[in-house]
Amino acid sequence: MGDGQTRFGHIYRRHYGDIRRFVGRRVAEGDVDDVTAEVFVVVWRRLSESPAGDRLLPWLYGIARRVLSNEFRRVRRAHALAEHVAAQPAEPAGTDHAAAVADRLAMAAAFDRLREDDREVLRLVAWENLTSAEVATVLGCARTTAAMRINRARRRLLDALRRGASRELRGGSAVAAAEGAKR
């Protein structure tokens, strides 16, 4: 087995789940496996460019983003986040269950109201767990630009939450929680 296959096997085994989750957050369920496979086609083609260590995963996410941008005309996009949250089965009842669901729905609705570039930054930080430096690698921009975009996306999320809360929430519990976490 060649070095290339060995390295590809290592990358595939170690990061298949990361890439599949990345794709699954952005496209409809039925297209996730196909797009994930497409990402690894490109990874195989560009294996000689793959960086080592901590830079590998952001590099893979960068490839996945480019594959998705090519595929978005063909594949179905993921449901709106609020739709996904609302579709979750009921959890075992707790005293604060209804309030918690309302908070999550409010947050998801606020997320859905943002522009796609803000949503993408939030996904990368919150769900792919990337630092600003890694976000810069994925987006192909400078670190300072990435940091600015992260700050801006958070501010817009909170603004969207406030606007939603003024219309929808009684008592603004989601906003209070968000502001509490901010302090």
């Binding site: 087995m1 990361d18 599949r20 699954g24 496979a37 497409e38 075992p92 999550r104 769900w127």
Partner: protein, 339 residues
């Protein structure tokens, strides 16, 4: 900047639509089915749909072969005469020396409010596991070891009835001589067990207690020839193999683990399905040889991803190097489903 990132994670993390995705696990490599390692024909321009299918097969083949080498050739580093065993977990030690108990209690607190798995008692519990064992037969002429991988699936209905399916792959031998010497079935098999309500009370009809002290007593009700802390550790693995735990129940199990004497936190790792996790272990020679028993937990919600056994200082008459993993189990799915 870190504060901003952390704040975003706190706000958005719980909404991750892929948070509970189990299928993201790459199946662990199996020794059977070694297939041609045709490279993905990426440089040739095939129609797109065909290319996708090709890379899935190609990638899987590469992974299978990469893992298959471990035992089909006894591993690149396994000395001649040794049975092949899986690579040791790659564990990154913690930077802060927090006691395991403190970490486990913190994970238990998160597990309790995680909302994972969804569902509730009254639904069918479904578990899918991949298991890997080193089986050895020892006599005066030496030791023959085989690798035995299997898939275990279990459906347990609310009334206690259910079924399990164990698909065992053919045992893997290092040599034809070993195969001829082996006293046992050398073919693969699929065994299906069905049972009615009340027929398997050994595996607990009632839900586990959610109070840690009550749970500890409840686990010790099981007959066992083992001494503590291995007795409780083994009762927990039995419980995990047979029941899907609610978040509060899983939290109680983690709190029981936290108080087991000798429990240590090893660090962060990835399980054998490639999922990130935290490794906690204890060591015991209660089974005859000094062994490290390790649980791998999901870092955020304390899901049990798997557990394994590793010989640490002596292999006895087993023909394995030291240290060696001699068994592992990974939970690929644990959830409530409609009957």
């Amino acid at each position: 900047m870190k504060h901003t990132e952390q704040h975003i994670r706190e706000l958005m993390g719980p909404l991750d639509p892929m948070r509970d995705d189990e299928r993201a696990a790459v199946p662990p490599p199996h020794p059977t089915g070694i297939i041609d390692t045709e490279q993905p024909a990426a440089r040739r321009h095939r129609p797109r749909a065909r290319t996708r299918r090709a890379v899935l097969a190609g990638a899987a083949a590469t992974v299978l072969v990469a893992g298959g080498l471990v035992w089909t050739t006894a591993g690149p580093n396994a000395p001649e005469g040794y049975a092949a065993t899986p690579p040791l977990l790659e564990i990154t030690p913690p930077q802060r020396d927090l006691p395991a108990a403190e970490r486990l209690h913190a994970i238990a607190d998160r597990a309790e409010v995680s909302g994972v798995p969804k569902g509730a008692p009254g639904q069918t519990e479904y578990i899918k596991m991949e298991n890997w064992y080193l089986h050895s037969q020892i006599d005066n002429s030496g030791t023959v070891s085989v690798i035995q991988p299997s898939t275990f699936r279990l459906w347990r209905h609310a009334d206690g009835s259910g079924r399990s399916v164990i698909r065992a792959q053919p045992p893997q031998f290092r040599s034809e001589a070993g195969r001829e010497k082996w006293a046992g079935d050398t073919s693969g098999s699929e065994r299906v067990h069905r049972w009615g309500a009340g027929e398997r009370t050994y595996y607990w009809d009632e839900r586990p207690p959610v109070d840690a002290d009550a749970l500890r007593r409840w686990l010790r009700q099981r007959p066992s020839g083992q001494t503590e802390p291995l007795r409780t550790f083994s009762a927990i693995t039995d419980l995990l193999r047979n029941r899907v735990l609610l978040p509060q129940e899983r939290a109680a199990v983690l709190r029981v683990l936290a108080e087991l004497p000798g429990m240590r936190y090893n660090g962060t790792t990835r399980d054998r399905a490639g999922r990130p996790g935290r490794a906690f272990s204890l060591e015991s020679d209660g089974s005859g040889l000094p062994t490290r028993y390790t649980f791998i937990l999901g870092p955020d919600n304390g899901r049990f991803l798997g557990y394994e056994e590793m010989l640490t200082t002596s292999a006895g008459k087993l023909n394995v190097p030291i240290p060696s993993v001699i068994s592992y189990s990974i939970f690929l799915e644990r959830k409530f489903v409609e009957r």
